[in-house]
């Protein structure tokens, strides 16, 4: 990937939308980046196929006005991101241009901006000392980025072992200053700065091992944490028809999840939704640190009206940034909305290249592309023994809301948690509309995860979850019977069974993403509420008529919802709970 002196150049030989054929005068390599010169504007493009002396490139911008014989310069490298302090709190486009540095209201073709700040001073503290033997990813020092210890590492491109010759003393430095000098095996001196580059399509592997995820990652969303938990370093996806709440759910997770860093990849979705993050995150507090949410967040915005090819790149840009922070021993959560748009970008290009289409005209290798991408997430032990993780949750927007389509099916094979949003639940405003029974978490079956629950939540937790699921299943069964036979066509205890499931639905599953308190529910609170609803389930009540059952449980639900809306164990919470107990006592049989 080193630059050679004679860079290959080329000339435009054909144009079909953003697919351009370039006649080249020298060697090029697959995925190499080039710049097409359009009357002084440089359009960035990537080689996606080579045929003889013609390179097929996909242009990351509009090709309007491009002409045959326009000149092309190849760069010798693949699409790379710049890694270094200053990534946090930034708003990048899919190619890591800093959107805030761009001039004007409209995006200009060919405008590129520095993702980092060359002149900013960072407070550097050495972590390595002369004589240390280091490899790619070893920590040489750290700077404080917002509140996070940002490790300055041996560049990931370095191969083999190096010996530290010197590390600069504590002080303020710029990203391009040399902060360490190392010797390679042959004794050659190499200067290391705080910045490095890495090709986005290549996973960063600077870690020792990648065990199966085994810890819970709290999202603060009850139906996820309690019923379908995602593990730290795990993968999950949220398919759902339009308007069922994918974005609201992802935003909620991004606000509350117990992660050090959040990367939001807005991939081919609405600009106004990104604006919502821009507007809210600098104001909202991170519940765990009290800092502003924006301080731990990086946004990659390639909204639906931005160039389609860059949309595909955007998820890789986001993932690579995640891998960089994971190598610092941090807990990264990455969210992408929506991965279907990325798949569609692949489809548009594949069609233009007249490749043999797979199902629904998606490229044949779509499943492989998706599973490769998901496999970059994970919990890792770094070479120095520390651990880091990337938990990844993507949304999927299935055509016509039908889950039997290629993107959903391919993702289902790759992701371990499945959060199916149901149109029916969304229609009846039962948010988040995650179907509790169709959805699953494979992690909940991992023995190491179960062990983690037993140790960290409570010994009976796995049984409680199973019980809650059973109650929901039985509730659904009797609901069907009541529908067919009518309210008075079934025994009263059917109504009781139905309503006990409704209590779980209203109190545990449903959660108001727009309420300050209810929006986020920490694990100890989830545990408390689950115990409460299960206690109610186990309580025996007596009723004369089915109407009594309904109106009784409506009161129970209302009271418990009030609890959800109150600060945990606050006066208001306790008062509501007391009232709840009074209501329960009315119908309780000894």
């Amino acid at each position: 990937m080193e630059k050679t002196n004679n860079m290959t150049t080329g000339k435009v030989a054909g144009i079909i939308a953003n697919l351009v054929f370039v006649e080249v005068d020298g060697p090029v390599h697959q995925n190499e980046i080039c710049y097409i010169n359009l009357g002084g504007i440089k359009l960035m493009a990537e080689i996606i196929k080579v045929m003889g002396t013609q390179a097929y490139v996909q242009v990351f911008e509009s090709t309007r006005g491009l002409k045959i014989n326009d000149t092309v310069e190849f760069t010798g490298h693949m699409l790379e991101v710049t890694l270094g302090p200053g990534i946090l709190s930034k708003n990048f486009d899919g190619l890591q241009n800093d959107l805030d540095k761009m001039m004007g209201v409209f995006l200009k073709r060919g405008e590129q901006t520095n993702p980092l700040e060359d002149d900013k001073l960072w407070e550097f503290k050495p972590l390595a000392k002369p004589g240390d033997v280091v490899i790619a990813g070893s920590w040489l020092g750290e700077v404080k980025e917002n509140w996070m210890p940002h490790k300055i590492m041996v560049p990931f491109k370095f191969e083999g072992k190096y010996t530290v010759k010197s590390v600069i003393t504590e002080g303020n430095y710029k990203i391009n200053d040399t902060i360490a000098v190392v010797n390679d095996a042959k004794g050659k001196e190499i200067n290391i700065t705080m910045v490095q580059k890495w090709p986005v399509k290549v996973p960063i592997k600077a870690y020792k091992e990648k065990p199966r995820p085994f810890k819970l990652l709290e999202t603060g969303v009850r139906v996820i944490d309690t019923l379908n938990p995602i593990a730290e370093g795990g993968t999950g996806f949220i398919p759902g028809p339009f308007g069922t709440g994918k974005t609201v759910l992802q935003h909620a997770i991004s606000k509350q999840a117990e992660a050090d860093m959040i990367i939001v990849a807005a991939c081919g979705e609405r600009a106004n939704e990104v604006v919502e993050i821009f507007t809210e995150f600098p104001e909202l507090d991170d519940p765990r640190t009290g800092r502003k949410l924006m301080e731990r967040t990086t946004i990659i915005a390639n909204t639906s009206n931005m160039p389609v090819a860059a949309r595909e790149a955007s998820v890789y840009t986001a993932m690579t940034i995640g891998e960089y922070y994971r190598a610092m021993g941090l807990k990264v959560l990455m969210l992408a909305d929506s991965t279907s748009r990325w798949a569609q970008a692949l489809r548009e290009m594949s069609n233009r290249m007249e490749e043999l289409p797979g199902q629904d005209a998606f490229p044949m290798d779509l499943p492989a592309i998706i599973s490769n991408f998901y496999s970059r997430a994970g919990f890792v032990y770094l070479n120095n023994g520390a651990s880091g993780s990337i938990t990844f949750i993507g949304t999927v927007s299935p055509a016509g809301g039908n889950l039997k389509e290629p993107v959903t099916e391919s993702t289902k094979k790759a992701a371990r948690c499945f959060y199916a949003l149901s149109q029916q639940r969304a229609d009846s405003k039962r948010y988040p509309a995650i179907d509790p029974l169709d959805s699953y978490s494979k992690y909940a079956e991992y023995p190491e995860v179960i062990e983690y629950f037993v140790k960290n939540i409570e010994p009976e937790w796995p049984q409680k979850i199973t019980l809650a699921r059973d109650i929901l299943i039985r509730g659904r069964e009797v609901a069907e019977q009541i529908n067919i036979l009518g309210d008075d066509g079934v025994p009263i205890d059917y109504h009781e069974r139905f309503w006990k499931a409704e209590v779980i639905d209203f109190v545990i599953l449903q959660q108001d993403a727009f309420d300050k308190v209810d929006a986020s529910c920490p694990m100890d609170r989830q545990k408390y509420m689950l115990s409460s609803v299960l206690d109610i389930y186990k309580t025996k009540f007596s009723f004369e008529t089915f109407e009594e059952v309904g109106s009784f449980f409506k009161r129970v639900i209302n009271q418990m919802k009030q609890m959800n809306y109150s600060e945990f164990k606050s006066e208001k919470f306790n008062k509501n709970e007391k009232e709840l107990n009074t209501i329960i006592d009315e119908r309780k049989t000894a």
Partner: protein, 440 residues
């Protein structure tokens, strides 16, 4: 379409398909416009010296020796204050007999707004229609379609919304409009004395369908001129986007592209998003709001056109004929404005969200009661009351002929609550009940 002296004229077409012509030509820009045999065309493919042109009005009758003249620029619109009150065709040429526009040329289909330069939409657009203002409030910078059956009066509702919305400019993009509907819009705008703030780009059913592909970009280029250069609040009406998408599929079929679902091109999502995402609130006060119409076939919203639209827009509005009152209403169940929470209870009275939810909940209870009735089960007293409430609610609020202010809508709701229910049955926060429940 003036021509310049030095322009080279080609006369040797090598290939003609239903939608395209190809010829050998040099120094041609991608997406450049051309005139082929007097018809407008655009470059869609260049391979070496071979240039393929899409002919908007079709290739019928084009001879192989037709004159081909390249215009050296992509499609443009001349912009200026003079656009106001004028009617244009899909190419931006006047069709109202008035003079040519003498303004600055702007390329249509221009770049996107940098997302960090957008402002969060926050300005309420009152329309007087309670089915919209009360339950599905619209906000400047929003994009929202009517999902309507072809026989529903969506053009009337759109015209009404447009005239009542307090917009500085209303830009109509008509695609496949029947001549009657075109004249309807013209009349309504004229009668309202609003012509001077209305600009129309119209492709009627009498025009070739592929031409309509230019209409949204024309309308939105004009919109950007007024919203950015003049900081105005612009409302863009696009009707009917289904016919626009049909034109896309015609082109992609003729160009032998591999169709995806419902024989739509694989790029349908991106194509529609490019249009709808032009809706924006600018920091300097200007805004573009898009209200569109997507006609459904057989009410099927899983068809690729409404489906992709739903994934792009910020909600959707459904019209429905309420047979109980014999009027068309805005369906409160299936309609949704996703941006309403940015304004209701904030720009409108604080009780708005709760009143809205309570009324819809009671209306839903009425729907359940109705099902019970149809299935032969007995109704409770509460069921009976919800049914009566639903009829009044539909008549006084949901019907599209309602035209009142939001406060009056809220008052109407409170009066209906009082007429049929006890406060406990309505379930609104006590402080609002204390304040607004009618005291007799």
């Amino acid at each position: 379409m003036e021509t310049k002296a030095f322009q080279k004229i080609y006369t040797k077409i090598s290939q003609i398909t239903k939608a395209t012509c190809s010829l050998k030509a040099t120094n041609i820009g991608y997406e450049e416009m051309a005139i082929v045999h007097g018809r407008l065309a655009q470059v869609v493919k260049i391979v070496g010296e071979n240039v393929t042109l899409q002919i908007f009005s079709g290739t019928e009758g084009i001879p192989t020796n037709a004159e081909v003249l390249f215009l050296g620029r992509p499609p443009v619109l001349k912009v200026g204050e003079e656009l106001s009150g004028r009617f244009f065709n899909a190419y931006g040429d006047p069709i109202d007999g008035g003079p040519e526009i003498d303004g600055e040329e702007r390329q249509i289909g221009g770049p996107s707004v940098n997302p960090v330069r957008r402002l969060q939409p926050s300005e309420f657009i009152p329309t007087g229609i309670a089915g919209i203002d009360l339950n599905n409030a619209l906000v400047t910078g929003q994009k929202i379609p009517f999902f309507a059956d072809p026989d529903q009066p969506f053009n009337q509702v759109m015209a009404m919304v447009a005239l009542r919305a307090d917009a500085d400019k209303i830009i109509l993009g008509g695609m496949g409009l029947t001549n009657d509907d075109y004249l309807y819009y013209k009349n309504v705008f004229d009668n309202a004395g609003a012509l001077d703030r209305i600009i129309s780009f119209v492709n009627t059913t009498e025009n070739p369908p592929v031409e309509r592909l230019l209409v949204p970009d024309m309308a939105l280029t004009a919109a950007e001129y007024f919203a950015v250069d003049k900081n105005q609040k612009v409302l863009v009406l696009l009707t009917d986007m289904t016919l626009y998408a049909d034109a896309l599929s015609i082109v992609s079929n003729r160009m032998d592209q591999i169709p995806s679902k419902d024989s739509m091109p694989g790029s349908l999502y991106s194509d529609l998003a490019k249009i709808y995402e032009k809706a924006v609130q600018f920091p300097d006060g200007g805004s573009i709001t898009i209200i569109a119409v997507t006609t459904l076939s057989g009410g099927d919203i899983t068809h690729a056109i409404p489906d992709n639209t739903g994934y792009i827009t910020e909600g959707q509005l459904f019209l429905r004929k309420d047979t109980d009152i014999g009027k068309v209403i805005v369906d409160p169940f299936r309609s949704l404005s996703r941006l309403k929470q940015l304004v209701i209870g904030k720009k409108t009275r604080a009780d708005h969200p709760q009143v809205m939810n309570a009324a819809i909940r009671l209306y839903a209870d009425a729907a359940n009661a109705k099902t019970k009735l149809e299935n032969g089960f007995d109704l409770t007293d509460y069921d009976e009351r919800t049914l009566k409430f639903a009829k009044d609610y539909s008549e006084k609020l949901l019907a599209i002929d309602v035209n009142i202010e939001v406060d009056a809508m809220l008052t109407a709701c409170w009066n209906l609550f009082d007429k049929y229910f006890k406060p406990a049955e309505v379930g609104i926060k006590q402080e609002f009940v204390d304040k607004y429940w009618p005291k007799n």
